[in-house]
């Protein structure tokens, strides 16, 4: 369970939000809303532990994420604005390296399978810098398929994706939620994801 207590975030001398409280249980989806500059990305980065909150705390399974960082990171996959893939490496190499960095060994078949599912079959050996914006995003999304983490934090996951890929990603998120996963995402698009519980937090309010 992820719990956010009295969270306050300050950037420079500008306070983005304060007194933010919510909890997220297994199988729940949190849709984070807010206008541009409301602090959505800052909140997501704080939830990942990349940013230190000015006040308040984020708790994972009842423990502050700063005191149990390794355990929390083991349960977390974060997809930010940047794809976090290397342009010089191919899609397969990127996924192989990112999985062995997180301590999982994957067979090449498993990775090829994930790339096929995400619609990148035939492009797996090209350096990712020659791929289009949307295809690069798909390589990043393939990480979600291969990860065995519980909590997904996705910052604008639908940008640059075509209709087919948006549907694929929605299905992926639903499957994850049905398997007792948790998802936090921001998007300006209308999302219809079949999920047990859907929560919303509006930062502009």
């Amino acid at each position: 369970m992820l719990e956010v207590r009295e969270l306050e975030c300050v950037r420079g001398d500008h306070r983005l939000f304060k007194g933010l409280n919510f909890t997220l249980q297994a199988g729940e989806l949190l849709h984070l809303r807010g206008s541009n500059g409301a602090g959505k990305t800052s909140l997501l980065r704080t939830l990942c532990g990349l940013m230190v909150p000015a006040n308040g705390d984020v708790l994972w399974q009842g423990e502050s994420i700063r005191s149990s960082r390794d355990e929390y990171n083991r349960a977390l996959t974060y997809l930010g604005h940047l794809n976090g893939i290397k342009g010089e490496l191919s899609a397969i190499e990127n996924l192989q390296i990112s999985s062995s960095l997180s301590g999982i060994t994957l067979s090449e078949e498993a990775i090829l399978d994930a790339l096929t599912k995400i619609g990148l079959a035939g492009r797996e050996d090209l350096p990712t810098k020659v791929l289009s914006q949307g295809q690069k995003r798909r390589v990043a999304l393939a990480r979600l398929l291969l990860s065995k983490t519980t909590l997904w934090i996705l910052d604008e996951p639908f940008t640059a994706l075509d209709v087919q890929a948006v549907d694929d990603l929605k299905r992926l998120i639903s499957e994850h939620l049905n398997a007792d996963g948790m998802v936090i995402l921001t998007t300006h698009q209308h999302v219809e994801i079949e999920a047990g519980v859907m929560k919303e937090v509006d930062l502009s309010a």
Binding site: L50, D70, I85, K86, G87, E88, L89, S100, L101
Partner: protein
């Protein structure tokens, strides 16, 4: 299982950085050629008297090694910062200091080790004799890892700043001074018959202290830079 996965991740990080460098050979070669060219300029500027050259050789080679090490520091974390992979490294379920250590080791293999390997060539060019050249290689082998380790702290702190390249030199070069003094000093004092053991011991001590302290400080610097 925990230690096994840390070791796997450590190795994966090393392999990753070496693979990236192989895809971008120009970066590695730039550092090496910079080193070779800077040292080769001295005989042209100072004049060809072999006695003068022999006297200044250790200092010249060491200063050139410092500058070459500086040159490659900029890219240590900045590429990963720009494409978002550094964020992902911070979110790995392993100690960030160990990941930093792996990256710094890769950095040394790519920028420090070539300097050690090619230093005999420059030593001969400046008229050093066989013993002095071997000693020069030993000091560089002990000193350049410390340069990479200390430089990593500066590179982490200046990440994402405008003009970070110049700032990192201002931050790191003063910290390189002791290594320069004892590195070049070892060769000079051996040449004057004083023996170099004391210098080498101090150089080794610098390396060990840097090995223990700097990965932790670099990890902290990276967390601050990404906040």
């Amino acid at each position: 299982m925990n230690e096994g996965s840390l070791f796997r991740a450590w190795r994966a990080m090393l392999v990753r950085d070496m693979l990236l460098a192989m895809r971008r050979k120009a970066d590695v070669l730039t550092t090496l050629f910079f080193f070779l060219i800077v040292v080769s300029l001295f005989p042209l500027g100072v004049g060809p008297e072999i006695e003068t050259l022999r006297q200044i050789a250790p200092g010249v080679i060491w200063v050139a090694a410092l500058l070459a090490a500086m040159l490659s520091l900029g890219r240590l974390f900045s590429d990963d910062y720009d494409d978002g992979t550094l964020e992902q490294i911070l979110l790995l379920p392993h100690s960030l200091s160990m990941m930093v250590l792996s990256k710094v080791f890769a950095h040394w293999l790519l920028s420090g080790l070539p300097l050690v390997v090619f230093s005999p060539l420059l030593g001969m060019q400046l008229g050093l004799d066989g013993d002095a050249i071997i000693l020069l290689m030993i000091t560089l082998a002990l000193g350049t890892p410390a340069l990479s380790l200390i430089g990593a702290v500066g590179a982490g702190l200046t990440l994402g700043l405008r003009g970070g390249g110049v700032l990192v030199s201002l931050l790191v070069l003063p910290l390189y001074i002791p290594i320069l003094i004892f590195g070049a000093g070892a060769v000079e004092s051996a040449a004057s018959g004083l023996g170099s053991e004391a210098h080498l011991s101090i150089l080794g001590a610098f390396f060990i202290v840097a090995l223990v302290v700097t990965p932790i400080s670099t990890a902290a610097a990276l967390r601050i830079s990404l906040d």
